[in-house]
Symmetry: none
Subunit: 209 residues, 2 copies
DNA sequence: CCTCCCGTCAGCCGATCGGCTGATGCGAGG
DNA sequence: CCTCGCATCAGCCGATCGGCTGACGGGAGG
């Protein structure tokens, strides 16, 4: 059987990029561009109206609601959102995934990859650009669900009181050297390198009572 | 017209104190002691049954639920609670007020003051013993509601990312000296002296988005 | 007009931190 | 038995922090 074409909605604040994608996708008979949006608001409205199979979403959208918010709104309606953007920072990736993105491609990706990613996204399957995939894996290794040992949580608790190493050591009846050792491991696991950052992450993920 | 007598419930774990109050209040024709309780549980139960105009509550109640908890339960039913206790520590005062106390008197207070405070409490008006009042004022001036300036919140935001002073300075286009100045003031306002403590307090009171 | 608050900046100094390398003891699990 | 994870400890070093003192300009309000 000949499957129906995948209907997609482009969302990028740069007309040039949209035109480029349009031209690129024109060569694929099974991919049909159902519409284009230049802002997050527009994307949300058009997605609701057109009900495309996939929304190609840039994360940088200028003023108004950003790509992450748009992704959140659209994916909440059951439409697959494939993020196509320039940057691959951990923060961007994490926010996009948390917002419900089905895939995350970099614009530097080869066109063929984009096509297959679109077809995959239409079926709800995930495609990640290699750099993104490796970053996601790294997130998983320790950052996603940092498994702190009981002792490390003890130290973290004292740390969140704003205590210095000496005071933490006294409070837990260990040496300052041990406190430093634990702190180093905590930093590793939480992906930070300062006490302030550790406290921020701890509070964020509610690692402390 | 002759207003009805103010009906009050005494709550103190010392029978001697209750007797003293009873004797003291006996001289006031417009104040009627509707009942006495020796524990927090008793106070809550009797308050629900008797529906007095005012509950005279001691904060120290021995075992079981304490005065603060009793105050919380009773004031939740719309009955005015006038705390009458011996101590005037910031912690006690803050907890009692947070629990919904209408007034806070010290037992060292002159009897006349107690009478007028009871009449005031019956109408929902607040009376505070002078030492308590001044403590409350001090709480207000900076400690209770840490009013951080917009700029201080900027610095705090960066701090919560775990950044060092140099990076914060760069991010906000100011010098490290300025960052340090702001940090010092933030520490003062939040009652801490380390960045980790500042982040903890900030997260705790949701000072950051 | 003068004062107070806010934001900016400087320099100094001791205390603390964070990274690194390396070591010991102990219990669980293969 | 031997390895691995966890907790413990040591010393070194450069970087950073936190406290302190002092200063300046601008805006709000008395």
């Amino acid at each position: 059987m000949t499957e129906a074409a995948v209907r997609i909605l482009l969302c990028d604040d740069h007309a040039v990029v949209r035109a480029g994608l349009l031209a690129l996708l024109g060569s694929e008979p099974d991919i049909e561009v159902a519409g284009e949006a230049g802002t997050g608001e527009e994307a949300v409205a058009m997605a609701a109206k057109l009900r495309p199979d996939v929304v190609l979403m840039d994360l940088q959208l200028g003023p108004g609601i950003d790509g992450v918010e748009a992704t959140r709104s659209i994916s909440a309606t059951g439409i697959h959102v494939l993020v196509l953007t320039t940057y691959d920072t951990d923060a961007d990736i994490a926010r996009a995934i948390a917002a419900g993105a089905t895939g995350y491609l970099l614009k530097a990706e080869r066109p063929e990859e984009l096509f297959t990613a679109i077809r995959a996204a239409a079926q709800g399957r995930t495609t990640l650009s290699p750099p993104v995939a490796s970053r996601v894996m790294n997130q998983m290794r320790g950052a996603a669900r940092p498994t702190l040992t009981a002792r490390e949580l003890d130290i973290l608790g004292q740390l969140a009181q704003g205590l210095g190493n000496r005071d933490i050591a006294r409070a837990l009846f260990i040496s300052q050297a041990t406190v430093k050792t634990h702190l180093g491991r905590i930093y590793d696991k939480l992906g930070v390198d300062t006490r302030a950052g550790a406290v921020a992450v701890a509070k964020e993920q509610r690692l402390l009572p």
